[in-house]
């Protein structure tokens, strides 16, 4: 005869506490932000009229005129991603705590990376427009810095998660730091790093599309101009066009990323 096994009931207290807290935070912030469901309903009519002017129909004849600013946006995203990603790789190596073990280097480095990563690209762009003037260069700078922060952080976390056995094996056969990097660390993180870079490009395309708002070049600048002149059918066309481009780039890049890792 076997004894019946009894285990204590799972404790739900923690889970319930988390759910309540999250609900409270969401409702609280909605109230705080003055979110009001009736006001939303009231504005629905106004909004639908505007949508009608934008998309019924959009101004298709405008397409040839927005190709060039769209290309500029893509270029901004490309260059910004490229520059940011290139600087990010060596920085990530220095910031990872398993390659260089001195704290005085990677603690401040991480702080800087976190700051760069958390400042929205828009804010950086306004800053650079103030410093370098209007135009795509300011946008590219903003994107490069943001990308640098993003990719450095993701990459150094990947470096810290590598299989350290491979590093030890290389050390044991007499490899110096550079060789350990080349033969044990890089092969392990290169696919991830490439994937992060492509992801950075995805994010940057979207960011680049709105950077024009602060005068940092690209399609955003055209958008802002047309909004100011209330050319809503042109605005609609720009939105559709940007949406299509972003969608295509997202699809292609996530397909590539899936194959990488």
């Amino acid at each position: 005869m076997m004894d019946k096994i009894t285990v204590p009931k799972p404790r739900r207290f923690r889970r319930n506490f988390v759910i309540l807290t999250v609900a409270f935070l969401i409702l609280g912030s909605a109230w705080f932000a003055g979110f009001n469901i009736f006001e939303v309903m009231g504005n629905l009519y106004k909004g639908s009229r505007l949508l009608g002017r934008m998309f019924l129909p959009p101004d298709f004849s405008y397409i040839p005129r927005i190709i060039s600013p769209m290309l500029e946006t893509i270029q901004m995203a490309l260059v910004g991603t490229f520059v940011g990603a290139i600087i990010a790789l060596p920085t990530a190596v220095l910031a990872a705590n398993n390659f260089i073990k001195t704290k005085w280097l990677h603690v401040p480095l991480r702080l800087i990376l976190n700051i760069f990563r958390t400042i929205p690209a828009m804010v950086l762009a306004s800053l650079f427009v103030a410093v370098f003037g209007l135009g795509a260069f300011s946008g590219v700078m903003a994107l490069a810095i943001f990308t640098f922060g993003l990719i450095s952080k993701l990459t150094f976390e990947s470096i810290e998660a590598i299989d350290y056995g491979q590093v030890e094996a290389l050390m044991s056969l007499g490899a110096n730091k550079m060789n350990v990097l080349r033969y044990a660390i890089m092969p392990q993180i290169l696919p991830q790093y490439t994937s992060y870079t492509i992801y950075g490009f995805e994010v940057n395309i979207r960011a680049a599309a709105v950077l024009g708002w602060v005068g940092a070049g690209g399609i955003g600048q055209t958008l802002e101009y047309n909004l100011a002149w209330r050319n809503f059918d042109k605005v609609g066309m720009i939105i559709i066009f940007s949406f299509a481009i972003v969608l295509v780039i997202d699809l292609v890049s996530s397909a590539i990323r899936k194959r990488l890792v």
């Binding site: 299989d163 056995g165 491979q166 030890e168 094996a169 290389l170 050390m171 044991s172 056969l173 007499g174 490899a175 110096n176 550079m178 060789n179 080349r182 033969y183 044990a184 092969p187 392990q188 290169l190 696919p191």
Partner: protein
């Protein structure tokens, strides 16, 4: 060839892994190190190529102090010592050839190895090493595509490419099935006998120690408690002696069986 002089190792967390070890290992020996989990076997092995620092005493390799070696001197010592691991630790995302060639990095200027430039004779060394462990046909495969036993053979080939004097093996077969285990042990034995490469292996299975070694060293709670030449031992006496090393009779899983 290896000499431990009053060596101790206390880890930063306070664990005294080795206590005043004195041990000498001679050229050509195949030393099996046995002992319970946590006895200090890996620690002992890793002190020989300074993967970890000792906290007392001194380790010598070929008369040179490993303990005091730094920079170029340490690299010069390490490149003469091959090491294989329980987890194989080959670089899975590289080809078999690149893995074996990486065993040569300590012989060349860094700028060349970073660019992946190795002289033709190094490639010959790599091919011969792979042939030695009968896996030359996988030379262009990705390492991750190989089975465990094959990966361990690549690891042995990488160590052979160093043209080492000494081979360290930390539980080289603990992740392998019994048949592959015998294969890998056979290769280690062959290399020891034919190339005269001194071998020190941590082994979990006492019958592997019995079948392959020329000397058996038992470690218990950070001390060497057993040290016998294999040829002086009788099997029944050896198995009875093991209680000294393990503090209890041998359990079933410490014996591999007779396949």
């Amino acid at each position: 060839m290896i000499k431990f002089l009053n060596v101790s190792k206390t880890y930063p967390n306070g664990v005294e892994a080795l206590k005043n070890i004195n041990l000498e290992i001679n050229e050509g020996e195949f030393v099996a190190i046995i002992g319970l989990s946590g006895a200090g076997k890996s620690t002992l092995l890793r002190l020989i190529n300074k993967l970890i620092d000792s906290t007392g005493g001194e380790v010598f390799f070929d008369g040179e102090s490993v303990t005091k070696a730094k920079g170029k001197d340490l690299i010069n010592i390490r490149r003469q010592i091959g090491m294989i691991f329980q987890g194989f630790n080959i670089v899975k995302r590289m080809s078999v050839l690149s893995n074996v060639l990486s065993g040569r990095v300590a012989y060349h200027p860094t700028w060349k190895t970073i660019l992946g430039i190795f002289p033709e004779e190094d490639k010959q060394i790599a091919y011969r090493a792979l042939q030695r462990v009968d896996i030359l046909e996988k030379v262009h495969n990705r390492a991750s595509d190989l089975s465990g036993g094959q990966q361990q053979r690549v690891a042995i080939a990488r160590a052979l490419a160093q043209e080492p004097k000494l081979m360290l093996a930390d539980e080289p077969v603990a992740s392998l099935d019994p048949i592959t285990t015998v294969q890998v042990m056979d290769y280690l034995k062959k290399i020891n006998e034919e190339d005269g490469i001194t071998t020190v292996a941590n082994l979990h299975h006492v019958d592997l120690a019995w079948n392959y070694s020329t000397r058996i060293v038992g470690v218990r709670e950070g001390k060497v408690v057993y040290d016998e030449q294999r040829k002086d031992l009788k099997k029944s006496k050896f198995f009875a002696d093991l209680e000294m090393v393990y503090g209890r009779p041998i359990t079933h899983d410490e014996i591999l069986g007779d396949e």
